[in-house]
């Protein structure tokens, strides 16, 4: 089965929080090489793993993963704020 590519912000979020790939891998229960594959968007995670990653960063899943190429997080948050303000 062909699957569509998923985009994510794992690399940006991990670097923002100053955690290594090994530390993140330990937190979400995968091999550290798998974190590399996820960051390079060469592997689509299962729904369970996607939720674990989002929970680890304390963000909603749609801020971490998307089917569209991702914009900078600041832009996304500004958009959401302005939408909520309307």
């Amino acid at each position: 089965m062909k699957t569509r590519k998923l985009f994510n912000r794992i690399s940006v979020l991990r670097q923002e929080r100053n955690i290594s790939r090994k530390e993140l891998a330990k937190k979400i229960g995968v091999n550290f090489q798998t974190v590399g594959y996820l960051e390079r968007e060469e592997y689509n995670p299962s729904l369970d793993l996607a939720f674990r990653i989002s929970e680890c960063f304390g963000l909603p899943i749609d801020l971490v993963f998307s089917t569209e190429p991702m914009r900078p997080l600041s832009e996304e948050l500004l958009d959401r704020k302005s939408q909520n303000g309307k």
Partner: protein, 141 residues
């Protein structure tokens, strides 16, 4: 270790394995010590390249670890690898069986089809075993 190095290692490993077998049987037929020495040298290369490609990279451990101790990406990688290996190994084994039977018949000059039913059954088994396992284990298909 880069993929090209790993690929070269795999080719060297299997190449030396085939060489070892060829020279071993050649030595057995001709009783020539040179062939035996080459066979032993090929065996050493096989062991060394195996340790390098499968041991050093951790790939041996990956494919021999219990599936419950792998993460989902590793499980997927191992699953695809096992699927392809199963196909290749089945075909190889069946070809070896068929070839040995045909060679034996050619050497003896007799036509003996005793192994052909077994060959056909093994071929059938190789094709139906995966679906039989699914039929056995799955609640709904």
């Amino acid at each position: 270790m880069s993929r090209s190095v790993r690929r070269a290692g795999v080719l060297l490993n299997y190449g030396s394995l085939v060489l070892m077998l060829v020279f071993f049987y050649a030595a057995k037929q001709t009783h020539a010590n040179e062939f035996l020495i080459i066979s032993v040298l090929a065996l050493i290369v096989t062991i060394a390249s195996c340790l390098y490609v499968h041991g050093k990279t951790g790939l041996w451990r990956l494919v021999h670890t219990n599936i419950e101790n792998l993460d989902e990406r590793e499980t997927q990688v191992v699953h695809i690898s096992l699927r392809r290996s199963y196909s290749a190994f089945s075909i190889l084994c069946l070809l070896v069986i068929l070839a040995s039977e045909l060679i034996e018949e050619y050497m003896s000059g007799t036509i003996n089809i005793s192994l052909l039913p077994a060959f056909a059954c093994l071929l059938y088994l190789a094709h139906t075993l995966p679906s039989s396992l699914i039929a056995w284990t799955e609640r709904e298909v």
